[in-house]
C-alpha cells in the first residue's frame, strides 16, 4: 500500500504543478537581477538605472540590459532619455532602444506619454510576458528589471516566468516604507527568489549652504531591518539634488557626475 500512497502523492504533485507556469530562461540572458521594494517612490527606478550603468561602467566587456516592468508608471524612458516606438526584427521581436550602451525596453515606448494603462491583471500578465520574451535582447550578461511598487500580478508573473538570480530591495528609512519592504522580502521568499540585499535610499540630506545634515525620512531604519532579516546592506544613498536633476534630464548621475557623493 506504500507504493499506492507514493503513486497518489506523485499524481497529486503533478496535478498541483500543472497549474503553475514553468520557469523558462530568456534566450541569451545570463543573469537577471530585479529591483523591487513593495513601497512606491523609494527610488527603485533611479537605483536600477544607475546600477545598470555602473555595472556596464565597471566592466566594459559586460553587456547590460534594462527592463522597465512598471506597466502603469514607466519611468525608464525619461531617465534614460529614450523615446519612440521599437523597431521589429525579421523574426518579429522588438528591438530594445539603446542609450549609454544599455539596451532598454519599457511600456513607455509602446504607448503615448499621457495615456494611462487602465488594465486589469490578466492583460498586465500578457504585457509582461511580451516585454520579457518578445524582445531581441541579444547576448546579455545582466538583465536588470525595474519592478513596479506592490506585491501583485507583475511581481508574480515575472518570478514565475523566468529564473531570477537575485532581488535587490530598495527602501527609504521611514517606518511605512520598511513595512512594505518587509512584505517585499516575504514575497520573494514565497516565490523562492534569493534576496541579494537591501539598499537604503534617501538616507540623509546635507544642506548645500551650511552642510548641516538632516535625516528627513528618519535614520538607519533599513540597517535595523537588514539585521532582523539577516540580509546585507548593499548601499546607503544620500538625498542629493543632483540625483533627481540628472534623472529628470535623462542623464543619470553615474554617467554625468561620476565624481559626486552619490
Amino acid at each position: 500500500s506504500s507504493s499506492r500512497d507514493e503513486a497518489l502523492r506523485d499524481r497529486r504533485a503533478r496535478i498541483l504543478s500543472r497549474g503553475l507556469p514553468k520557469q523558462k530562461p530568456i534566450e541569451g540572458v545570463k543573469q537577471v537581477v530585479v529591483f523591487a521594494s513593495g513601497k512606491g517612490g523609494v527610488g527603485k527606478s533611479t537605483t536600477a538605472v544607475n546600477i545598470a550603468l555602473a555595472l556596464a561602467a565597471n566592466d566594459s566587456t559586460k553587456e547590460v540590459g534594462l527592463l522597465d516592468a512598471d506597466i502603469y508608471g514607466p519611468s525608464i524612458p525619461k531617465m534614460m532619455n529614450l523615446k519612440g516606438n521599437p523597431e521589429l526584427t525579421p523574426k518579429n521581436l522588438m528591438r530594445p532602444l539603446k542609450n549609454y550602451g544599455i539596451a532598454c525596453m519599457s511600456m513607455g515606448f509602446l504607448v503615448e506619454e499621457t495615456a494611462p494603462i487602465v488594465w486589469r491583471g490578466l492583460m498586465v500578465m500578457s504585457a509582461v510576458e511580451k516585454l520579457l520574451r518578445q524582445v531581441d535582447w541579444g547576448q546579455l550578461d545582466y538583465l536588470v528589471i525595474d519592478m513596479p511598487p506592490g506585491t501583485g500580478d507583475v511581481q508574480l508573473s515575472v518570478s514565475q516566468n523566468i529564473p531570477i538570480a537575485g532581488a535587490v530591495i530598495v527602501s527609504t528609512p521611514q517606518d511605512v516604507a520598511l513595512l512594505d519592504a518587509r512584505k517585499g522580502a516575504e514575497m520573494f521568499r514565497k516565490v523562492h527568489v534569493p534576496v541579494l540585499g537591501l539598499v537604503q535610499n534617501m538616507s540623509v540630506f546635507q544642506c548645500p549652504k551650511c552642510k548641516h545634515e538632516t535625516h528627513i525620512f528618519g535614520a538607519d531604519g533599513v540597517r535595523d531591518l537588514a539585521k532582523t532579516l539577516g540580509l546585507d546592506i548593499l548601499g546607503d544613498i544620500p538625498l542629493h539634488v543632483n540625483i533627481r536633476e540628472t534623472c529628470d534630464s535623462g542623464q543619470p548621475v553615474v554617467i554625468s557626475q561620476p565624481q559626486s557623493d552619490a
Binding site: G38, G40, K78, V118, G121, K209, L239
Partner: protein
Amino acid sequence: ERSNLAGVRHILLVLSGKGGVGKSTISTQLALSLRHSGKKVGILDVDLCGPSIPRMFSVQDNDVHQCDSGWVPVFVDQDKSISLMSIGFLLEKPDDAVVWRGPKKNALIKQFVADVAWGDLDFLIVDTPPGTSDEHISTVEALRPYKPLGAILVTTPQAVSVGDVRRELTFCKKTGLRVLGIVENMSGFVCPHCSECTNIFSKGGGEELAKHAGVPFLGSVPLDPQLSQSLEEGRDFIQEFPKSSAFPALTHIAQQILDGTLQRSS
C-alpha cells in the same frame, strides 16, 4: 435595506499615478485637519499590498470586529471622530505579504466598499495605491453609485512623477471622476539650521501640471521632518505642530475642500 454608505455625506479619493508621493500622508493630514474643523471623517485604505494608514495612526495592532451590518471600522481614539478600514487590520502578522492577483483584490475591495458599517460621516477619504490598475478600476466602479465628490491628485514636483500623474488625470477623465485639484508634495526643503531652501525634488511641476490641465492647484506642501516623524509615531501633526512648515499648506488644502463642499450644496 439601508446601504452602509448612506450616512456618508462626501466621498473623496486620493490618487496619484506615482508611488511614494505622499498619498497616505496627505489622506491622513486631510482627515486630521477636517477633524479639527469639527467633522467626522473615515479613511478607507484600498492599498492592499502596502497598507500604510493603520501605522500612521499607531493603531496597526487593532482588530476589526463584526456587527450586524458588516465590519466595524477601527476608531483612532475615544471620541470616535476618525475611523479607519484597511487590510492592515485583517492580517495575522503585520509582516504578512498580500501577494494576490487581480480578481482576489477586486473581491476584497467590493467588500470594503459595501460591507463596512461607517455610520454617519461627513467625509470618507479613500487612499489608493499607486498606478491605474485593478484596485483603482474596482474602487471607482464600486463607488460610482454613491457619487463621489471627486479626486485629489498628489504629485511630487519632479518630471518622473508629473508624467505618471498626467496619466492619472486621463484616467479620471475616462472614468468620469471629477478632479478636485492637484497637491504638490515634498516641494522644497528648508534646512532647520540655516533656513536655506533646497528643491531636492525640484519645484513647480505640480503647479504647472494643474495649469496645463485646467484643474485647480490646491497647494505645495514642503518636506517637513516633523511631519515624517509624526507619521512614524502616529501623532496628530495638525494638533501638535501648528508652527511647522507643512502646517499652513495642509490646513489650506483642507479649507479648500470644505469650501468646495459648501459651494456644491448651495
